[in-house]
Amino acid sequence: VRSTFIAGIVAVLGVWLLPTLTSAQQVTAPDVLVSRQLAESEGLAVGSVIRLATEASGTRAREFRVAGIYEPTPDPSRLGQVPRSVRLHLPDLLDMTRPVDVPAGAEYVASVNVALVDPQDAQQFARDVNARLPGVLALPSGEAAGSAGPFRVLERFHLAIAVVTIVAATVFLLALTIMLVDERRETVGVLRLIGLPIRRIMVQILLEGLLVAGAGAIFGLVLALASEQLINQFFQWRYDTALVFVRITKDVALTCVMIAVPLGASATVVASWALLRRGGLRLARR
């Protein structure tokens, strides 16, 4: 199916398309699927008869019946390009694209997708094919995607941006906690003077830090969940795609909390440490 799709896209680059409303030929014309975007732009519906050709001049055009309209698989590398494509049965496509001097059955296809009874055998199956069919390269689907696919590159890019944002937020957080701790200098001094040990005060500060960081993390998650739908709707509208741009999964939420809470609590403790090293009298003195 995938090879048909790929070959279809290639062929469709030169497609000359003209919807016609013939009725007698609808019965015999082979079926095709058209993408939602193409159907919308050309006003096609299920049952429409269209003419496809591989040359822009429209020579050797053939008629096909639209059997269905499909939503193209979202592809980030084609973001911004309206996917006006047609899916044909492979024999129909080969009939259209075969040069006149090439006999039927001598064509080639770009790739063949194979569904195994047991997907765990993919590696062994690929090895067997490579050994038995010289000139054919078989790869398990995971490896065929390649390590530098657009998804993975974008993931690395977003991770780098996230790291910079976390660094900036940490620095600001430290500055803020230093100020807030300094504001409570006298209170800490009094606590020291009435006999509370440094460890006890530190535990209190740590607990306070955890509470504040926890509340902040929960607020951040709520904000992210609220904006998730908005961001997806905007970008899906902007690019006319079903691609999901933001998805806040349990793992993502957990990672955020695991970073934010310890970071917030640590910032509070680090900022308080210099203060707690001073004597109680010095802290309480105005």
């Binding site: 780098a160 910079v164 500055a175």
Partner: protein, 415 residues
């Protein structure tokens, strides 16, 4: 002492919080600067890459060259294009996939135990080119690659290779290589041919994970065993003046072909390809500026709240309302200004790292950059930081301007 000097002393008096505030602005500013570089970087870089070759118009059979559609009757088509009055020269480019034998010394594969090292062939693309021109100046135009060492390939038995092939196959100008080129399908039986390497070249549109060789169209046809046909992937055209008029003339002469000027190619890229990066740049710019405004506002507000007594005392000593407001504003300007200055080198450093990450995307030419420095980006960066300094200081300025002197001093004394 003026407001700026006074604000400087306020910052120096509390070095830890001042340094952290400035560092925070520097980090946020670096991200902001990078997003501004990203917003137009790809477009600027692509325009530069297209213009660098000296070719004004690109003619192809489909919207994108190399997507399966080829220009039929390529040489005749190029001849008719070259004869147009506004055309100086036309360059026909035909690409084929090729396998180049590695010399045993150049193989990086581990040797087999007790045997000779495996010599798996290098996979590369082979560009064959030929120039068509009725203009004496046009016929001297060079191929779409830059020679780094040696000279350009001029005869059917000569080839130029990129640095990757030169390194992997251990060849240099003067060496010979065995090449098997396929002009029709990858799976056909490939004929073998010996070609002389006469130069090492840089191919501007080559992606970072591919290897490319180049030569004359005759060399490519010979390498393909005469199985190349008379088709081309692309015809590059140099006009005598107006590229737009030349493209229109080509479209009129060959309505079945697509002819686009460099500006039109870039415009198409602006409308379709990689708009995602423009969008993400806009979103992150907005988020970054909002983040900076919020945090600097909080920093200044907390700082001002801690110094209310001090400010009230200054007012009581004769400092005017405007003067203390100026002090707060100057403090904001200093934090944002110093942080903003630091953000420039930091941003350029970060941009080079992010650029490396994004260039890992398949199909991106190695010479293309996502982050490109532009004066316009710097101006916008400065303007946004200036706006940040002003907006962030509005609330703390309001606090100090409305400060009741007597009540604040009394609270300070009693508290």
């Amino acid at each position: 002492m003026n407001a700026l000097g006074f604000a400087w002393r306020s910052l120096v008096r509390q070095p830890a919080r001042a340094a952290l505030g400035i560092l925070g602005v520097a980090a946020v500013g670096a991200l902001l600067f990078d997003m501004l570089l990203l917003s137009r970087g790809l477009i600027v870089s692509m325009q530069d890459l297209l213009d660098r070759g000296g070719w004004d118009v690109r003619v192809s059979a489909g919207d994108l060259p190399g997507m399966g559609l080829r220009i039929p009757n390529a040489l005749e088509t190029a001849d008719t294009i070259a004869r147009l009055p506004s055309v100086q020269a036309a360059l026909v480019i035909r690409t084929a996939s090729a396998q180049i034998d590695r010399s045993p010394g150049g193989s990086k594969d581990p040797p087999l135990p007790g045997g000779s090292p495996p010599v798996s062939p290098l996979r590369a693309s082979f560009q064959g080119v030929t120039t068509r021109s009725t203009n004496p100046a046009g016929s001297r135009l060079r191929a779409p690659w830059t020679i780094l060492r040696g000279r350009d390939a001029e005869h059917p038995d000569e080839i130029v290779v990129d640095e990757q092939i030169a390194s992997d196959a251990a060849v240099a100008p003067g060496s010979e290589i065995t090449i098997r080129a396929s002009c029709v399908a990858d799976l056909e039986a490939l004929p073998e041919m010996r070609l002389k390497v006469v130069g090492v070249a840089e191919f501007p549109f080559q992606t970072s994970n591919e290897s490319t060789a180049g030569g004359t169209l005759d060399a490519l046809k010979a390498a393909c065993g005469g199985n190349a046909g008379d088709t081309a992937d692309l015809i590059l055209v140099t006009s005598t003046g107006d590229a737009g008029a030349t493209a229109a003339a080509i479209r009129a002469a060959h309505p079945e072909l697509r002819a686009a000027t460099n500006n039109e190619v870039v415009g198409r890229l602006q409308q379709t390809g990689f708009t995602y990066f423009r969008q993400i740049s806009s979103v992150l710019t907005t988020v970054t500026v909002s983040f900076a405004v919020l945090l600097i506002t909080v920093l200044l507000t907390v700082s001002v709240n801690q110094r209310l007594g001090e400010i009230a005392a200054l007012r009581a000593l004769g400092f005017s309302r405007m003067r203390v407001v100026k002090d707060v504003f100057a403090e904001s300007v200093l934090i944002v200004g110093i942080g903003g200055l630091l953000s420039l080198p930091l941003g350029l450093l970060l941009a080079s790292g992010l650029d490396r990450i994004l260039k890992g995307m398949p199909g991106i030419p190695a010479a293309l950059h996502f982050f490109v420095f532009e004066r316009q980006a710097l101006v916008v960066h400065v303007a946004l930081l200036a706006a940040t300094a002003i907006i962030a200081s509005l609330y703390p300025m309001r606090i100090v301007s409305n400060l009741p002197i007597a009540a604040t001093l009394r609270d300070e004394v009693i508290g």
